[in-house]
């Protein structure tokens, strides 16, 4: 039997599907089977509280992910930039995210990465920052020598006080599955802000 693919709806459609399905299966179903750390782990991973889950919902609906990634890449520049008080931020690993029902790894950094921001600033700081973020950052002189705000983060003062607290509670958990604040001997510093 001679098959002429170009004359046959059936053969064109089946062929296109089969060829596509090789790559589709190998890049979506196979990875979690080969690398179970994508969805389970033996490390202790933080279980989100009710309040933090509400915070996650706000993080999602406000679209924070479009400006802030949540991944320290395996690059020295990322580790140094997002480290804090002389300790480099360790790169993010798959297992740290297993309890994240909604991932916010992100593709664009208009603002800084937030993967290890938990404990870096006090909750009071976050409160003030959500209310008026542009007033909190550095300022630079313009041509006339007048100092101008540079941060372009939108203010979230339309969120209720409760909502800001929920969001802050979630943000304070970020990156804490790894207790990464250790001194040169590997002793925990436990100097996180509350």
């Amino acid at each position: 039997m001679k098959i002429d693919v170009e004359k046959s709806l059936l053969w064109t459609a089946t062929g296109a599907f089969l060829i596509f399905s090789i790559g589709a299966v190998l890049t979506t179903i196979v990875p979690p089977m080969v690398n179970p750390e994508m969805w389970k782990t033996d490390h202790p991973v933080h279980e989100y509280t009710e309040q933090e889950l509400r915070g996650i919902a706000i993080y999602k609906s406000e679209g924070c992910v479009y400006c802030h990634t949540q991944q320290i890449r395996h690059l020295e520049s990322d580790e140094r930039r997002y480290g804090w008080r002389l300790v480099n931020a360790p790169p993010s690993d798959s297992w740290e995210y297993v309890n994240d029902r909604y991932n916010f790894l992100g593709t664009k950094r208009t603002g800084p990465d937030l993967a290890r921001v938990g404990g870096k600033y006090s909750s009071e700081w976050h409160w003030a920052h959500f209310k008026d973020p542009r007033n909190m950052g550095e300022k630079f002189p313009n041509r006339k020598g007048i100092y101008e705000k540079v941060s372009i983060m939108p203010s979230f003062d339309y969120l209720s006080d409760e909502e800001i607290k929920d969001l802050t509670a979630y943000i304070q958990t970020l990156g804490r599955n790894k207790n990464w604040r250790v001194d040169a001997e590997g002793q925990p510093l436990n100097d996180y802000e509350k």
Partner: protein, 455 residues
């Protein structure tokens, strides 16, 4: 029901959505330089960005492509659309679902899926519409009066089949309760990349494969290249989703696989491009660039090469280190979806609209003007994003430079983006006016008498 009602309705609706999407884009660009503009919940920058991408992808580009194909497919297959009623019903449902989804986005009801923020139940309705579209496509092909399937038909069939799985994976499976963390991220990036690669690429290329030879009145350059392009793209494109996570927390082997296949994409793209340019080269020199349609097709093809050369190179680990997560990515995405595929779709609208209206295009000159303004504005638009992205990428390597300083350095680039974007919007207004006049306007009768009436 009157023939081509569905095509007409979807094309008009798509053109209107295009304007809305560009408005959202300009507002977003403005917020990068004057962040106090519209500082309220429904116009916050992330919401605007979600509206901008969703309206562009689903309201404009997908809808325009479907409308154009509703007109093209029956012509190639020498038959009528399988069911005009089904087409119209699908168009109405699609627009309602989209409006519902967009209102949802503006009020914060979203999924954490980039390009797929439209929340349920509206994303399920979009999937239903897609099935209705698929029935119409398969039905039309099955009831055809010709033996051979032309390249346009292959790509349309491919897009219909692939997109079904890509859309379900990204929008439904990724939201299942047991899917979390980097596993979810992997599924979502499979969707994000293939939304561009297996929805808009095949549909755009399908339209170009019909329009280029038809408009230039010359056969396609090489049948073999068409086949290579189609079968290779259906194999290699789907593997590349993980290149959004290079250096990130996903498995190293998966990243390497995605890099290798991202690079292999050069093969099908060059096959398609060679075919298009070859066809342009064989057309008579004097007339091949007359009017907006061949210009848009040519420029779309040029942008298609540039995007598809950028893609493989920025997937290399060392290049990715600089370009990833910066404005560069935004420039790259705009060149693919705006530069290449929106240009093809606009060419399609210019080609189909007069046929649907049963008379000549309102003004060829205005079409040319639209093309030139848009093209000249798009070059600085893309360029500032790339230059800004590279500046940002290198600045991030230096821990002495604070994050806000890297943002400060991009102020001028962001102003440039806003102004060039405004020119693009201006050019769009010409396009919209021209199409609306063609459909509904009153103009000189002798033009109508001389018009090429649709078969």
């Amino acid at each position: 029901m009157k023939q081509d009602t569905a095509a007409k309705m979807m094309i008009i609706s798509a053109c209107a959505f295009f304007g809305l999407a560009l408005t959202m884009g300009i507002l977003t660009a403005l917020k990068f330089v004057v962040p106090t503009v519209g500082d309220i919940e429904y116009l916050s920058m992330p919401r605007l960005r979600m509206l901008h991408t969703n309206i562009n992808l689903f309201g404009w580009l997908l809808q325009a492509n479907m409308g154009i194909l509703f007109w093209i497919l029956p012509r190639i297959l020498h038959t009528k659309l399988f069911s005009e009623k089904l087409g119209v019903a699908m168009g109405v449902l699609y627009n309602l679902a989209l409006l519902g989804g967009l209102i949802g986005i503006a009020t914060g009801h979203v999924k954490n899926v980039e390009y797929g923020e439209i929340a349920s139940p509206f994303d399920y309705l979009v999937a239903v519409c897609w099935v209705m579209f698929a029935i119409n496509v398969f039905g039309t092909v099955a009831t055809r009066k010709v033996k051979y399937l032309y390249v346009t038909v292959w790509y349309t069939l491919g897009a219909v089949i692939w997109t079904t799985f890509v859309y379900i994976t990204g929008n439904m499976l990724s939201q299942m309760p047991m899917v979390a963390g980097t596993n979810q991220a992997n599924l979502i990036w499979f969707y994000v990349h293939n939304a561009v690669g297996l929805i808009f690429t095949p549909l755009g290329v399908a339209i170009a494969y019909y329009l280029i030879p038809k408009q230039l009145n010359t056969p396609i350059y090489s049948h073999k290249l068409s086949m290579i392009g189609f079968w290779v793209i259906s194999f290699v494109y789907v593997w590349t989703g993980a290149h959004h996570m290079i250096h990130g927390p996903s498995p190293h082997w998966l990243q390497t696989v995605s890099i290798i296949f991202s690079f292999s994409l050069i093969i099908p793209v060059m096959a398609v491009i060679t075919n298009f340019f070859g066809t342009f080269a064989t057309a008579p020199r004097g007339t091949r660039m007359v009017g907006p349609i061949p210009k848009l097709l040519m420029m779309g093809t040029v942008y298609y090469i540039l995007t598809c050369l950028q893609g493989p190179f920025q997937a290399i680990r060392s290049v990715n280190e600089i370009t990833s997560k910066t404005d560069w990515v935004v420039g790259h995405a705009h060149m693919a979806l705006f530069g290449a595929f929106s240009y093809y779709a606009m060419a399609g609208v210019y080609y189909v609209a007069p046929k649907l209206a049963g008379r000549k295009l309102y003004s060829e000159k205005m079409g040319d003007l639209h093309f030139w303004i848009m093209t000249i504005a798009s070059v600085p638009f893309f360029a500032v994003l790339w230059i800004g992205g590279v500046i940002q990428g290198f600045a991030w390597l230096n821990p002495e430079i604070t994050f806000v300083q890297t943002l400060e350095a991009l102020k001028h680039a962001h102003w440039m983006r806003f102004f060039s974007g405004a020119f693009i919007f201006g050019a769009y207004c010409l396009f919209f006016y021209n199409i609306m006049q063609t459909f509904f306007g009153k103009y000189r009768e002798e033009d109508e008498a001389a018009a090429v009436v649709a078969e």
